[in-house]
Symmetry: C2
Subunit: 407 residues, 2 copies
């Protein structure tokens, strides 16, 4: 699916639409609108034509891969990696770019890309990134939810290269009052008639939680050994292994060391589990940090036709974003969860990384759907049901795929 389909057009981000109407051409296409800006959208179209992603929104770029392509390899190629943006990609000049480090520090830093590369240890780590809204469409099936209607592809596994956040913080010198680290992007998100940067925040304990093979957080310039693309936050992106993608700020421009979580909208209000969205509920809820234990069937696709006999089922399983936790087992059921066939885990077990799996299960013309469920190394299993929430986050009930088995 190379172009925006009618469902994706329907989901076209209203905010981007309004933003794009100044200096854009509007083309009526069937019963929906197609908007392209002059320069930006031409670039975007070019990029999309080359990509294999399902595009949800085009100006604020949001897209995800087809599931069969997603599980072709444990390491996700950049052109198969989901893209999540809250604003159009900002234009950033690499030469004049500076990362600011301010707040509760002994000395403020103002770092060029060269300063980052030459002044700190260059490291890399493999970690899975996933959106808190992955599988949102399954929440929406219960009761419609606004926002990008993510299927099960808002996830990917990559090698992230850059420098340890902890090393930069140590250079700045943390004061005793330092408890949380804020991150602001250089993007401009429409908000209440103005714009704000997309922002995140992590506890200081996470920022400093370096282990031998896994930094607590990384300031990255590279993804899978190549420079970051604009869609993935070039020239500098924060990557927080184990946390929802929203904490890994793209186009990172500023780090603030503070005694409390960031007041940015995406920490203080969005990315929380609420039901009604009253001010009281937002105030009561804590920010989401870790992503949950999850698993998905990637092949066959929903509606797939199978032959009676043995069917091959593949997919991914994600351990929760808790240190030193991996997948213990994955089960596939052909009878609605009454019995489970244990899947083979076909990739390495590593903390903060997904695992791919494959199962051979018996199917008959009476088989109507396939179901998957994962258990982690701490003994936790995905919940049978997940409470609906207003923003459609953290869906991790067992995934079901309807199939059609011929005689």
């Amino acid at each position: 699916m190379q172009h925006m389909n009618s469902e994706a057009q329907h989901d076209f981000d209203r905010r981007s639409f309004l933003q794009a109407t100044a200096g854009t051409a509007l083309l009526a296409s069937g019963n929906s609108l197609f908007v392209s800006s002059l320069a930006a959208a031409e670039n975007a179209q070019q990029a999309d034509a080359a990509s294999k992603l399902i595009v949800h929104t085009r100006i604020s770029r949001n897209a995800e891969p087809q599931l069969d392509a997603l599980v072709e390899s444990w390491m996700t190629p950049v052109d198969q990696f989901y893209i999540r943006s809250h604003a159009p990609n900002p234009e950033i000049d690499r030469g004049s770019f500076r990362l600011q480090v301010v707040g509760q520090v002994e000395r403020r830093l103002d770092l060029s890309l060269d300063d980052l590369k030459s002044g700190f240890t260059n490291v890399s780590a493999i970690a899975t990134m996933t959106c808190a809204g992955n599988r949102r469409s399954e929440h929406s099936a219960v009761k419609p939810i606004k926002g990008v209607q993510w299927r099960e592809g808002a996830i990917g596994n990559a090698r992230w290269g850059g420098v340890r956040l902890s090393e930069v913080l140590k250079k700045a010198g943390l004061r005793d009052s330092a408890k949380h680290i804020w991150f602001d992007g250089l993007d401009k998100v429409d908000y209440r008639g103005g714009t704000i940067p997309f922002g995140s925040s992590i506890p200081i304990e996470k920022a400093l939680a370096d282990s031998k093979e896994m930094p607590g957080a990384l300031l990255t310039t590279h993804m899978n050994e190549k420079p970051l693309t604009p869609d993935h936050g070039a020239p500098l992106r924060l990557v927080v292994p184990g946390y929802i993608g929203a904490r890994s700020v793209k186009w990172l421009g500023r780090i603030v060391v503070s005694d409390r979580p960031s007041p940015n909208h995406y920490v203080a209000t969005a990315y929380k589990l609420v039901e009604e969205g009253t001010k009281l509920e937002w105030a009561e809820g804590g920010p989401l940090y870790r992503y949950p234990l999850n698993s998905v069937i990637c092949t066959p696709a929903t509606g797939g036709k199978l032959k009676a006999g043995k069917a091959t089922v593949t997919g991914y399983a994600l351990p929760p974003g808790q240190a030193e936790t991996t997948i213990a087992r994955v089960g596939v059921s052909t009878n609605g969860g009454q019995t489970w066939t244990r899947a083979n885990l076909t990739s390495a077990a590593r903390q903060f990384c997904w695992q791919l799996w494959k199962a051979e299960v018996p199917v008959t013309p009476q088989t109507t759907d396939l179901m998957v469920k994962a258990t982690d190394s701490r003994g936790h299993t995905q919940p049978a049901t997940v409470n609906w929430n207003l923003k459609g986050y953290m869906f991790n009930a067992p995934h079901r795929v309807k199939v059609d088995v011929g005689g």
Copy 2:
């Protein structure tokens, strides 16, 4: 059960024990220790002798009623009301007592009990109080948890009399920066070699959430039309309808208006859902505020002998601490949840208040246990299972009672 039983002695609070050893008599009693201080404990013994409660710890006073007594009336008599304390009852002189209101306010207040009574509207409201640790013993059955081993009786429903928190805050004048209200008790809880007050914090939206019949929060001097007793926080207790009991600070001495939640240990660290108790986990977790949907079978008791035929089952059901939410239905099962008999709700349905219920169910010699499950007016049902957590909070899976049915 009028006296501390061996289980309660075993659970005896180590902190209180250490605190009590200066100037106390230690009496060996069987294989456990019984500690009584000179004056304080004599008073406590006197009070306990008159009470009908199961005493868990005696110096820091923690006790809960027998379940059959608990559901004798919708309004819980004070002598049947659970007691939760983190330190010995402080001695407070009513005449010199002052409530301080400080922080992000236009003017600091220093209010005597007479100032509170004469300067503000006197109001009262009925609300259910319950400890976040109610049913902790069911978490402990999965994996032992420290702390008071609450059964199902850490809950009660009372009329609370005093003045609206909002009215006092308005008199002080809230600055724009006011976002959270902190509350400090006059008790002295042992903490890291010193003492701290027990503290809580609520969002400003809750503090100001007055409706016609229900204040967002109350500064109370009375419980069931009588002056508060020392065990329940005399002379002044905060009561926050819908929130876990820990937010309703007893022996209230100070209110601080702030732009963030309180740094007090019982907000910043305790009363969160964590699994391991790492510093990172405490930092990631938000404070608990609302109590969850719950229900309990109060009669027959566990191990109760029944005659085959129709059995009468009674208990309580608690709607979650969300405004305008009540119990929609309660079901009792005699076959492990395969089928449910709808119970009669025998008391009024009101937000932030429990409801009592009664069911007649068929039992046979094959019936081994009874089970209850409640659904609220928003369509939520108690979860089938609850994740174990380090502090044993918020247990609300369906309650089961083993029974022995004769032929």
